[in-house]
């Protein structure tokens, strides 16, 4: 009797194990299936989104977002038992990142991408790893202290960014008139400010801090306190890919809960970084502390 009971439990255990194994095999869908089959994962990275994802002097992508994505790659290796997983790195721009995600060229994008409700119609996002304020950089000598002071003046901003519609909406609600000049990238928008062709550069605060830190005379510039909007940054992945998203969420949340995130934050935002050894000196904002304490993937 005892023997048969043991036999029965062994049989049951085997069946259960078999079901679990086949269930796991079935679960392997979407991106994870693709990674398992090709033995490679392709990460989309930016070339000049300092300090999130950019090229160092050896043309290798590095940055805060890249460090977090490498944690995900480690998790993928463990999950799929693929220690020799190949990591392909594909540079992307703000214009092509979503199409390249949709057509399968990249499996995950690690850069400075705002998680917005509009974008969630086309792609999915991992947990928020940074929160920015859309605000303005000005020259200290200009005496501009608030966004309302920009009335009747010319400002520069980078074309194709969320700052543009935000600024237009702000002008409408406040009944003020601001002339926008568009730079093709952040460096050019900043150049317009540096040459006094505009009085302010409206952009994400961390990107402004990056431009100021890299300029010839960082002490000439200030970032105003007012904010047009807060936006969460997170890594982008394909839509309707629950297993891959679960894996990303799990590994990033683990980094946040263990406190490791603070070390990674300090490495990129409060220490000298490659290639020039500039220190951004960017304090963690209350909104970001909140995002680390209660990880979420809410868009704006």
């Amino acid at each position: 009797m005892k023997h048969s009971r043991t036999a029965v439990s062994i049989v049951i255990a085997t069946i259960v194990a078999g079901i679990t194994v086949s269930a796991q095999a079935q679960e392997l869908t979407g991106t994870l299936k693709k990674i398992k089959e090709t033995g490679a994962i392709t990460i989309g990275h930016r070339e000049s989104s300092i300090p999130f994802s950019y090229l160092d002097d050896k043309q290798q992508p590095i940055g805060y977002a890249m460090d977090l994505c490498m944690k995900i790659v480690d998790a993928v290796k463990a999950e799929l038992k693929l220690p020799a997983l190949k990591v392909n790195l594909q540079p992307v721009t703000s214009a092509n990142r979503i199409p390249l995600m949709q057509n399968g060229t990249i499996d995950m994008e690690c850069g400075s991408t705002t998680n917005s409700v509009e974008r969630q119609k086309q792609v999915a996002f991992g947990p928020t790893y940074f929160v920015i304020n859309v605000t303005a950089a000005v020259k200290k000598t200009s005496g501009i202290k608030s966004l309302a002071d920009l009335n009747g003046k010319a400002i520069s901003t980078t074309s194709g960014t969320t700052s543009v519609p935000l600024l237009k909406a702000y002008e409408k609600t406040k009944h003020i008139d601001i002339k926008e000049i568009y730079g093709k990238d952040h460096a050019e928008s900043f150049l317009l400010l540096a040459q006094d062709r505009t009085v302010a550069f409206v952009m994400d605060d961390i990107l402004l801090a990056g431009q100021i830190a890299n300029s010839g005379s960082p002490s000439d510039y200030a970032i105003i306190g007012e904010s047009l909007r807060q936006e969460p940054y997170s890594m982008m992945l394909r839509k309707d890919d629950a297993p891959f998203k679960a894996l990303i969420d799990k590994s990033v949340v683990a980094v946040m809960k263990s406190g490791e995130i603070e070390k990674i934050y300090a490495k990129w935002f409060q220490s000298p970084i490659a290639p020039k050894g500039v220190n951004l000196n960017f304090q963690m904002t209350p909104a970001l502390k909140e995002a680390f304490a209660n990880p979420n993937d809410k868009g704006v």
């Binding site: 703000s94 214009a95 092509n96 979503i98 199409p99 509009e118 974008r119 119609k121 086309q122 010319a154 074309s159 194709g160 960014t161 543009v164 519609p165 237009k168 909406a169 409408k172 002339k179 926008e180 000049i181 568009y182 730079g183 093709k184 050019e188 150049l191 040459q195 006094d196 062709r197």
Partner: protein
Amino acid sequence: MNWGIFLRETPEGGTQYWEMIVSGLGWTLAVSAVAWVIAFVLGSLVGTLRTTPLPWLTRLGNAWVELFRNVPLLVQMFLWYFVVPEFIPPLKAWVIAADPAHAQFLSAVLCLGFFTSARIAEQVRAGIQSLPQGQRHAGMALGLTQPQVYRHILLPMAFRIIIPPLTSETMNLIKNSSIALTIGLAELTFRAREMGEYTFNFFEAFSAATIIYVIIAMTANRAMAVIERRTAVPGFIAGGAT
């Protein structure tokens, strides 16, 4: 695919996406037209100078062509918009005070006009040099002055000969005008990109831009073909079949 996107309102409010694309088209046409006039006038002048018997004029023309032909267009656009005003204080003052779109328009027109003028100059020179030397000598023998020889004998034939390459150049100019997006001029490609960024319907936005560019370029091509037929001299090479 979501073609209805063109009827949606833009985040700027009060306008729809198709109107945004059309306003971009307006800038593209304006920049191309003004730049073409500059390019044609300067190109003809410089091209002619390069065939004159006066060595210093020839050298001046050569320098002009090499300068504008050897610097990438993207770099030239940057120079005209960001660097040139720094050296000319009154221009800088105007650039700061003026409507940003006007400053961008001026830079784009000068950049494209000068760049294309170098290429047209090269074609005009080739057109003049393709004529038999005898034509120039016959003109001189008749007692015409050097400018008269150019005005009545060489240039009328040379311009007819170069109509086909000039057509290509006109179409290039229209397509090159998209480079103006790098200095923030809200032309067609700029608007298509902007629409893509706002809606993430890049495919639709760039399809529209592509179709519009093809239509403009084809129109320019057909217009030049008509000019070529109308001005053809019977029996001469340019009077051949079209």
